[in-house]
Structure formats: structure tokens, C-alpha cells
């Protein structure tokens, strides 16, 4: 091998090796543990084959958490995208370039906040007795309002915080994308009898199809990692109303039963589902 062709490898091998160790070790370890009956209470464990996986199929709480995860994905991704596109177009149409930059700056703040902080802030805002969000209801009815304790609204409130963090950020990206579009097709549409909303509906948004799909995928991946948000705000409750797969895996492994093997099998299933789903979506989109 001559020097020229060996140089790239000199730089690549250490980084790739580091990455492989960091990413693959836990994955392989989890895969290994998922075939055992390992618990937190004893250091010994036995290989039990696919027993954990078979148990999962008849676990109603697992099925529920898979359903909650799906709901969570669809809810947060669509709401974030709708809000971001709406707000982005609104800024593009109504705000002067100077104001637009100011709005962008303000809209970046939520996403810069660590999610645990955001979760605590909003948890307090939704507090049934002292929260600012629930204040109008209390003032009118004199009753406390605990949205996080209601199984029908709890997931929506947590979803609201997620959309609050990411919707504004995506709106900033979308307004910048709109600004980067060539102005002539927009001007042509203005001459072609199109009203402002029609210009965006028929011309600009379709022109931004590719970046918008990428954004939606980024959000979908991001939504999968909402453990910290849910953990702080509801811990999967009330009951199991907001218990997503990662939340359930965590409570199986560390809170309730200490069944590390069982929890790992949930994690492995999540990993596989994610890989398969995203591969299919990615291929479909890139066609």
C-alpha cells in the first residue's frame, strides 16, 4: 500500500473503531442480555432463548406501550410539521425581513432549552393548583384542573411540550427555506391569479417537498427519543396512559421488577422496528 492510499485509513480506523465500540458494545450486550433471565437482584443468569420475546407477545402492557409509541410518533410529527409550515409561511408573508430575524431568534430559544428543563417548566405550568396554564380554568370554575392526571389529555399535554420545543425551531428552518427559494415562480404565481395562500399551497410548499420530508424524518427520529420528557412529566402515567416503549422498558428494568433481560428484549424489538420502518420510508421517499 503506498502512502497516498494509506493516509485516509490512518485517520479513519481510530474513529471508526471508537464509534464501533461506543455504538455496538451496548447494542450487542443488550441483545445478549435479552436472551437471559438476568435481574438486578442476582449476579447469575441463565440463557432462556426466546422466552422473553414470547412473553412480550402476551403482555398487554407491552402492546399498550407499542400503541402509545405509535400514537406519540404520529401526533408529534404531524403537529410539529403543520405548526412549523403554518408559522413559517405566516412569518414569510406577514413579517418584514428584520422582524423575521427577530422572531427566528426568539423561536430558537425553546429548542435550546434542555428537554428536562422544558419538561419541569411546563409540568409546573400545568400544575393543577399553581400552574399558569390552568389558572383561567381555576379562576372561572373554582375547581383545580389536572390535565396530566387525565388519561385522555396526559399524552396531549406532553405532546404539546414536544411540539412547543420543535415546532418553533422547524418554523425557523422553513422560513429560511422559503427565503432561499427563487423569487420568480412566486412572482409568476402572483401574476397567475393566485392568492397568497394558494401561492404557498400550490407553489412554494411543493417546491420544498424534499427538505420538508427530511425534516419530518428528523422529527420522527427525534420523537423516538422522548424518554426524558415523558419521564419528568408523567412517568408513563396516569396508569399506563403515556407509557411509551422506552418508558415501559425502563420501568421493567429499573423501577418495578428489575428484569433487565425482559427490558432488553423490549429495547431490541424497538431497535428492529425502527430500523425496518425507517428503511422502508427512506426508500419510498427517495424513489
Amino acid at each position: 500500500m503506498n502512502r497516498r492510499s494509506s493516509l485516509p485509513y490512518t485517520f479513519l480506523i481510530p474513529t471508526v473503531a471508537l464509534l464501533a465500540i461506543l455504538a455496538l458494545t451496548p447494542t450487542i450486550y443488550a441483545l445478549n442480555v435479552s436472551f437471559t433471565d438476568r435481574t438486578l437482584f442476582s449476579s447469575s443468569s441463565n440463557y432462556i432463548g426466546f422466552e422473553n420475546y414470547i412473553d412480550l407477545l402476551s403482555d398487554r402492557r407491552f402492546v399498550n406501550s407499542a400503541y402509545v409509541s405509535l400514537k406519540w410518533e404520529i401526533m408529534t410529527v404531524t403537529t410539529t410539521m403543520i405548526m412549523a409550515v403554518g408559522l413559517g409561511v405566516l412569518m414569510f408573508e406577514c413579517a418584514s425581513p428584520k422582524m423575521r430575524n427577530l422572531y427566528c431568534l426568539i423561536f430558537l430559544i425553546p429548542v435550546l432549552l434542555p428537554r428536562v428543563c422544558a419538561a419541569f417548566v411546563w409540568k409546573f405550568a400545568f400544575h393543577p393548583l399553581y400552574g399558569i396554564v390552568t389558572y383561567p380554568y381555576r379562576a372561572i370554575t373554582g375547581q383545580p384542573l389536572d390535565l396530566l392526571a387525565d388519561p385522555t389529555t396526559a399524552l396531549m399535554v406532553v405532546g404539546f411540550v414536544d411540539v412547543w420545543q420543535w415546532g418553533f425551531f422547524f418554523a425557523v428552518i422553513i422560513v429560511k427555506l422559503l427565503e432561499s427559494l427563487p423569487p420568480q415562480p412566486i412572482e409568476a404565481a402572483r401574476l397567475d391569479n393566485a392568492k397568497p395562500w394558494q401561492i404557498h399551497f400550490y407553489v412554494t410548499i411543493p417546491m420544498l417537498k424534499a427538505p420538508l420530508i427530511s425534516l419530518a424524518l428528523v422529527k420522527a427520529i427525534e420523537s423516538l427519543r422522548s424518554f426524558d420528557l415523558i419521564y419528568v412529566m408523567t412517568r408513563g402515567g396516569p396508569g399506563i396512559a403515556t407509557e411509551t416503549l422506552d418508558m415501559y422498558a425502563f420501568s421493567q428494568g429499573f423501577i418495578e421488577a428489575g428484569k433487565i433481560g425482559y427490558a432488553s428484549s423490549i429495547a431490541v424489538i424497538m431497535l428492529l422496528t425502527t430500523i425496518i420502518t425507517f428503511t422502508i420510508i427512506w426508500k419510498r421517499v427517495n424513489k
Binding site: P182, Q184, A189, R190, L191, D192, N193, A194, K195, M207
Partner: protein, 361 residues
């Protein structure tokens, strides 16, 4: 069909005055070309007609209606852009039909009108393609079709041919001329290409620094330029200019300078003795002669550009370089001493300080 009236139109960008005062009356059916160097405000003026730029002051009327504050879509205009401005994600068919769909024209009517327009422009085979699958000329044809199908009162063209190669430009120019002959729609066309202006226009509006320098038919502008700027802008190869001084001896009037003494017909010009003037002569108004007269210029030929049927002879008189267009077969050879006579009644005189033409009206 409509006439356009611009009354004292102004345009400022902040403190910068782009168009200080623009007044023009475009007749119904007329083909008007805004011509000028880049940055002269001609595109800004067109965009104000379209409603894409706000008008700072003055009044704009299209078809007898004040349109200053109307949206572009309510002005009864259609525009063709320099870079085509097609909707990239739509097929050609949808591109053309877009405007009609927005005003809810019935689908069957859209279909028949699309067919009419596309058959005129020869776009039939491309209707289901996307704009990127078409060549530049075809894309510009789609843009024209998209403008035509709306049957507007006024067509606006913003340098529509400048993205095309020279050969295609000539073909498209012809097509636009034919189209206008057929449709007779009032048209405002912006270009910096004098060839396009000369061939297409009923009247040319020559602009400089946001102001109208001269308005007139191509012939008027070519034959009787009102200023040195107009004279230098129109005509290829460009007009020759020599700085001279007016003198009189007896009844003869001369313009005199370094190595030059030419007589001229004083009845054609408003001049006074001692006035500093610029003599303008088009290269095609020089004819090679063998004898020195009081209308000849003598010099050393230092370069010859061969154009095919003609040749451009560059020669030096005193300190200025002049160009003469001669039949290629009779061209002199380089370094030869040449003698050219100015054709009778073709020379122009401009005031050396103001640049205004001294030709009598």
C-alpha cells in the same frame, strides 16, 4: 387590449432614487421596447407595471383604470420572465393551466385553450414533461404559452431571450414578432440588446439612469439620436466620435481638430463659431476614396476585423481610433495608409459639454 399611461412615475429604494420621473403613453396594440444599459431602471419600470414593485409616486393607468394599488393578478397583465420562472414541480400542462385553474375556468375550456396555445407554440409533444426535461428555448416557449393563455390586456416581457444562445435568440425573436402581429396585444418588452429592440419595437424607449433619453421608432432613434449617449448605444459597430472645434471662413463652416479639418453643411446644425463639438460618424457612413477632399479623413490602418461580407477597418487619425465598415473584398491591408470620406448628410454633431445633438429639428 389596453393602453398604458405612466404619469410622473417615481421609484425610490430608501434614499436611492431609481426612477426619478417617468412619463409615457403606450398606445393600444403597440409594441414598446424599454432599452438601456443594465441598471438604467428599465426592469424596475416593468416590474412596477406588473405590480411586483410598489410605485413610490405618480400614477399608472392600464386600460383607463388607475392600477397603482392593485394586486398583479387584478391588472389584466401577463409576464414572461428572463429565467422562465416555471413551476418546477408541475408538468408543462399544469404550468400553462395554473392561472386559469385559480380563477375556476371549467376544465373542458382549460383543455381546449391549452391545446390552442400549445399548437401555436409547438409544445404539443411536451405537455406531460417537467420543465427541467425541456431545453431553454422550449422552457421560454412554455412561459410564453402560460402568459398567452390568460388572454391578457398587456404582455410584459423581462429580457426573455437573454438566457438563450445566439441562434435560438434569433428564432425566438422572430416568433415573438409573429405572435404580436397575430395577437396585436399591447406589449412592453425590456431588453439591453439593441438588435431585439430594433427588430421588434414599434417604438423604443431608450433609458439612462432611470430617465427617458429618447422615445421614437427604431428608425428615428437610429437616424436622429438626440444625444451622444443614444448615438453610442444604438448601432453595431458603434458610432465613431471625434472631439473638434467649429470654425468659419467665408461661407464655409469647418470642424477642426488634431489632423482633421472637415467641412460640413451648417444648415443642418445649430452651431456657433468656436463651439466645442463631438462629431459622430457611423462606421458604415465612411466610404474609401482615393483623393483628398474637404470631407476626407486620412490615417494609418492598424487592424482589420473580417466579418465575412464586410470588414471593419480600424485606423488612427491624430490620437483617436476610428472604425470604418467596408466591403470585405475592397478592404485595405494592415499598415496601409487609408483615406475615407464621410457620406453626405450622415454626420452628427453633439455639444461637447451637454452631449445633446445639434441637429436642427
Amino acid at each position: 387590449m389596453a393602453e398604458i399611461v405612466c404619469q410622473n412615475i417615481k421609484k425610490n429604494y430608501g434614499a436611492v432614487e431609481v426612477v426619478p420621473d417617468f412619463s409615457l403613453h403606450v398606445e393600444d396594440h403597440e409594441f414598446i421596447v424599454f432599452l438601456g444599459p443594465s441598471g438604467c431602471g428599465k426592469s424596475t419600470m416593468l416590474r412596477m407595471l406588473a405590480g411586483l414593485e410598489e410605485i413610490t409616486g405618480g400614477q399608472l393607468m392600464i386600460g383607463g383604470k388607475v392600477v397603482n394599488d392593485l394586486e398583479p393578478r387584478d391588472r389584466g397583465i401577463a409576464m414572461v420572465f428572463q429565467n422562465y420562472a416555471l413551476y418546477p414541480h408541475m408538468t408543462i400542462r399544469d404550468n400553462i393551466a395554473f392561472g386559469l385553474r385559480r380563477i375556476k375556468v371549467p376544465e373542458h375550456e382549460i383543455k381546449s385553450r391549452t391545446e390552442d396555445v400549445t399548437s401555436v407554440l409547438g409544445l404539443g409533444p411536451y405537455l406531460d414533461r417537467k420543465p427541467t426535461e425541456l431545453s431553454g428555448g422550449q422552457q421560454q416557449r412554455v412561459a410564453i404559452a402560460r402568459a398567452m393563455i390568460k388572454t391578457p390586456d398587456v404582455f410584459l416581457f423581462d429580457e426573455p431571450l437573454s438566457n438563450l444562445d445566439a441562434k435560438l435568440r434569433a428564432t425566438m425573436r422572430e416568433e415573438i414578432a409573429r405572435l404580436h402581429k397575430k395577437l396585436r396585444t399591447t406589449t412592453v418588452y425590456v431588453t439591453h440588446d439593441q438588435m431585439e429592440a430594433m427588430t421588434l419595437a414599434d417604438r423604443i424607449v431608450l433609458m439612462k439612469d432611470g430617465q427617458i433619453e429618447q422615445v421614437g421608432s427604431p428608425e428615428e432613434i437610429y437616424e436622429r439620436p438626440v444625444s451622444r449617449f443614444v448615438a453610442s448605444f444604438i448601432g453595431t459597430p458603434a458610432m465613431n466620435f471625434i472631439e473638434l472645434k467649429v470654425e468659419q471662413s467665408g461661407t464655409e463652416w469647418f470642424v477642426v481638430g488634431e489632423g482633421v479639418k472637415l467641412t460640413f453643411d451648417s444648415s443642418r446644425f445649430d452651431v456657433s463659431v468656436g463651439q466645442q463639438v463631438t462629431l459622430g460618424v457611423r462606421p458604415s457612413d465612411f466610404e474609401a476614396v482615393s483623393e483628398v477632399t474637404d470631407r476626407t479623413l486620412a490615417g494609418e490602418c492598424d487592424l482589420i476585423e473580417y466579418h465575412g461580407d464586410q470588414a471593419l477597418v480600424s485606423f488612427r487619425v491624430g490620437s483617436v481610433h476610428l472604425h470604418a465598415l467596408v466591403a470585405a473584398r475592397q478592404r485595405p491591408s494592415e499598415d496601409e495608409h487609408v483615406l475615407f470620406q464621410i457620406r453626405q448628410n450622415t454626420s452628427h454633431l453633439f455639444d461637447a459639454t451637454t452631449g445633446r445633438s445639434l441637429l436642427k429639428q
